[in-house]
Amino acid sequence: MRPQSKLALLIVLILTVGAAVLGERVVSREASPGRVTVVYWEKWTGQEGEEMRKVVDAFNRSQDRIFVKYLSISGVDQKTILASGGGNPPDVAGIWQEQVFQFADLGALTDLTAMANAAGLTRDYYIPAYYDALSEGETLWALPSTPASIGLHVRPDLVPSEVATPETFPETIEELDALNDRISKQNADGSLVMAGFLPSNPGWWHWGWGPLFGADLFKGGNPTLNGPETVRAFEWIARYSKKFGPQAVQNFQSGFGNFASPQDPFMTGKVATEINGVWKANYIRVYQPDLKWFAVPMPYPKDRPDLKGHSLLSQDVLVIPRGAKRAKEAFEFIAFVQRQDVMEGLCSAHGKNSPLNEVSEAFFENHPNKAIRLFDQLARSPNAIYPSRSGFFPRVSGELANAFQEVNTGLKTPKQALDDAQARIDGLWKTYREQVARS
């Protein structure tokens, strides 16, 4: 062999051995000698991510057996599924509540029931709706990190003085409609200047309109998108686009800034009321700290007083992916997050309500959201609803969002849009059930 070839071979060998040694160090899961390392992937970035990091640091300081390695990553849901498929999932993943049953149907989650029961984390420890949203029968798939409830936010300076308090604000949908008709402003050419209420703003919970009118989206266990209550809800939505004109609504809304900016339509006064989550106060505090606002439960249909106190619930949750190498230690960390003091600290820092049944007075008093008691009550309301406990829910939600757009843009009548959505979902539901049964 020539000297040049020998030199080249030597370089290749050194690089190969170096990559193997350094590569092992780079991908090693062991972050702290002498302690079991739990790998935790979380979707939060920015301030929310930093607050969770503080919880992780507190856990790591609280004992000397387990070290949680915290990684804030984007696309945590997809990456967790793919990593699980590859046999190297994180030990804890922070995902969204509406994905829990999708993951469960795929067989991607570890059953937490036994560990949670042993740790005293049973249904009565939580606000029931939050616990129920994560369990099916006797099986618990996830536990909350931070929850939220949703209410109607109101600008008192943009509504008549006689309804400008939480106590006097309209309680029924019909009263809200009348208020909207009274205070909305349009130019002579039809262009909108200010809307009292817009169902399409912010446009995040189109699956929730049917339940607002009493619909069950999984009636008898089957996805039901065109039930009479949902049709009624979409007729109510169509009323708004008809009143203002679909084109006027689209033009008006295209000028809305991002919700996490000073151009947010509620903050700029383009809308007088807006359905939004408990977190809305965080953004108001940052971008318009002097803004006057209050929150009330979303109004209910006049002929359905039994639906009073309606709210949509959502949660960020912690799961242990199937195949996690440190499931027992991972659950110790999850249990730490569920401690009342830890949970209240995290929820307060995120500007959210607590998912726990017992809430300290200090939590309410020191919370940055002045309406936190209302959001806590909404979470406890018998009419608080959460995304359906079905892995098929994302498809249902997607079809309802599409039907909403078809109605809001005047492309279809509510009945047409929902019947079409139902026809599509029927085919998909059949395939989905076959797939789940097959797997």
Binding site: Q78, I81, L82, S84, G85, Q102, L106, G107, A108, Q247, Q250, N251, F252, Q253, S254, G255, R322, P394, R395, G398, A401, N402, Q405, E406, T409, L411, A423, R424, G427, T431, Q435, R438, S439
Partner: protein, 292 residues
């Protein structure tokens, strides 16, 4: 050095490419073809279901909508991009002072990352405050809502596609500079006007380049993903901008239907293949090679 030794050295040099091709291209290709005949959700063993995924595609209304949107986008974006790129290349082929600066300026948009481009255009096409509508109102038009109106959203994407014509423009420019000057001189002697020279000299001489760029544009248009995904999440409004690749992505990563998504991928490949063959066939009478 004997020939076997030379062959060994050659293979050694080609080995990185061979390994890359086998591991990163050939294996995934074969795997996705097999997967397209299965029910596969990543976490469970694939189950063989024969042609079921392909049969379901034929009756899937959302798939057909996405396919229709993509074909309409292709029909709009490819000719527009081609005409614009050729026109710009011809302008940049002129002998004027400071041409290097013009060429750089016109190529610059190609370097803007797709996501940044999409975000930028969200503002340009904003129905209320957008630059475009402000300009249209300024000259007395009543402009549409480009982003919110289902009838206009697809046109917005087609117009945006023209923004990325810089790459093709550069290739056309290279082609134009290869056109022999004596052809133009002869035409000048015959008293040919600009249009005649363009029609009878320029376009025939760069026709192989046009064919290449059109085929590349068809492939790119059928696969369009990043800009609509950022500008119109979920294909809003009312799935009017829901593209083939977006539905494929949603099936693979949102609904975990890897088998179905793989079948879509192969249907996409067949569509691209058919369109490419059609373009080659149509070009037979119109493309002129110097060797012919």
């Amino acid at each position: 050095m004997n020939s076997r030794h030379e062959a060994r050295i050659g293979i050694l040099f080609a080995l990185p490419w061979i390994l890359g091709f086998v591991l990163l291209l050939a294996y995934p290709l074969v795997f996705s073809l097999v997967t397209s005949f299965t029910n596969f959700s990543v976490l469970r063993e694939p189950k063989w279901i024969g042609l079921s995924n392909y049969q379901e595609l034929m009756s899937d209304g959302v798939f057909l909508t996405a396919l229709q949107n993509t074909l309409l986008y292709t029909i709009g974006a490819v000719p527009l991009g081609t005409v614009l790129a050729i026109a710009l290349a011809m302008l940049l082929n002129a002998k004027v002072k400071g041409m290097a600066v013009y060429r750089t300026l016109l190529f610059l948009p190609t370097l803007v990352p797709m996501v940044a481009q999409a975000t930028l255009f969200l503002w340009v096409f904003n129905g209320d405050y957008g630059l475009l509508n402000a300009a249209l109102r300024g000259i007395g038009f009543s402009p549409p809502n480009w982003l919110g109106d289902p009838a206009w959203a697809k046109w917005t994407l087609i117009l945006i596609a023209a923004w990325g014509c810089g790459q093709a423009m550069l290739i056309y420019l290279a082609g134009l500079q290869d056109v022999p000057a004596n052809l133009y001189e002869a035409a000048d002697l015959d008293g040919a006007k600009l249009w005649h020279k363009t029609r009878h000299i320029t376009l025939p001489m760069i026709s192989p380049v046009i064919l290449f760029n059109v085929i590349m544009a068809i492939i790119g248009s059928i696969q369009v993903f990043a800009v609509p995904q950022v500008m119109f999440p979920g294909g809003a409004p009312a799935r009017s901008t829901y593209m083939f690749a977006m539905y494929l992505y949603d099936n693979a990563f949102l609904y975990q239907r890897m088998g179905y998504a793989s079948a879509m991928g192969w249907v996409m490949f067949l569509i691209i293949l058919a369109l490419t063959l059609a373009a080659l066939r149509l070009s037979e009478r119109h493309v002129h090679y110097e060797t012919q």
